[in-house]
Symmetry: C2
Subunit: 201 residues, 2 copies
């Protein structure tokens, strides 16, 4: 491929991703259809497939960008709270997660709602950014839980717990979404979990 062709390919790739990001932010995962994205990015569907393999390749890249933003916000929050105790540190991460999810609902949902066709192997990339979020929680637990498997399970359970509370609250399937109520429930769960972790240590 000539340098000129590579430049065109890179620019088109960027444009497709920018369009996909805007679409998922405004409308949600359903809007990420090859025809629509290609049209708005002013290229052919063939070019989109050529660059991303298929629509799932584009969705995975778009979701990776969302996770990257989430990751950087959570890293910043975690660095601000390094001197606090375990409960305060976990609360900081959890509430940062809630804030991101409620401010970026469509993008955030797209990350968890996108499913690959069953016959498609899950690309390495798919799990990488998520593992980094888990690693961030594991780091908080390093001084408190010695056993690596138990630490990893606890990190996963805490992430799932906060994720589930945020999800149910945003869906308002069990009532109306009230951010302060949701934050209160998260803090309660974190408080109980931390007290429990320390009591069963």
């Amino acid at each position: 491929m000539s340098t000129h062709e590579e430049g065109y390919r890179d620019r088109t790739r960027e444009r497709l991703l920018a369009v996909a990001e805007a679409l998922v932010t405004e409308t949600g995962l359903d809007a990420l259809q090859a025809r629509r994205v290609a049209r708005e990015a002013d290229c052919s569907i063939g070019t989109l497939y050529n660059i991303f393999g298929d629509i799932h390749g584009l969705i995975i890249e778009t979701n990776a960008r969302t996770l990257k933003i989430l990751g950087s916000i959570m890293t910043a929050a975690s660095q601000r709270s390094t001197k606090e105790n375990l409960e305060a540190r976990l609360n900081t991460l959890a509430v940062t997660y809630l804030d991101f999810a409620s401010a970026n609902q469509n993008r955030w949902r797209a990350v968890f709602e996108h499913r690959l066709p069953v016959d498609k192997p899950i690309p390495e990339r798919f799990g990488e950014d998520r593992r980094q979020l888990l690693a961030m929680i594991e780091t908080q637990l390093a001084d408190t839980i010695d056993d690596p498997e138990k630490r990893s399970d606890t990190a996963y359970a805490l992430f799932g717990a906060v994720h589930g509370i945020v999800l149910l609250s945003l869906d308002a399937k069990l009532g109306t979404f009230e951010p302060t109520q949701c934050a209160r429930r998260i803090r309660l769960l974190v408080a109980h979990a931390v007290a429990g972790i320390q009591a069963t240590k």
Copy 2:
């Protein structure tokens, strides 16, 4: 309406719901489209709308059936474990929830993935069965948490927590789904939460 017409209406209603249940079980929420359900139930789309208002009315009834089955399984599990301690009782409910979700993934997902159009008011029915699941957890906490608001928040947080862990595990977005691993994480969270509830009592 004559008795004859009522009989026809009731039978058609049942048939539509049976078709909808089979479709959602086999294929998932996406399969619940008015045209398809009406065709397979051998009636017109007009009749479907006449009985359920719109496709959302049918989906809500179908999901209500799923929640009713889930509710009866969880009630049975809860009655079997009344003599055990809080941790064991909560674990019984949580693992029963995991088992139901993994054995009935499409139906279970449909309950939480169905969203009403923003301009449509949420029917009373929508929240009723979900509130019963929460009430079941609250009952377990009756002897341990006196303050009603705190009890209700804790029940919600525990439900969300288990829901989130099950959801992430089934999506296998953070690894591969392994039922025993998922159950282990749930038990860990419940153990920590119960120890925490008792420690901060």
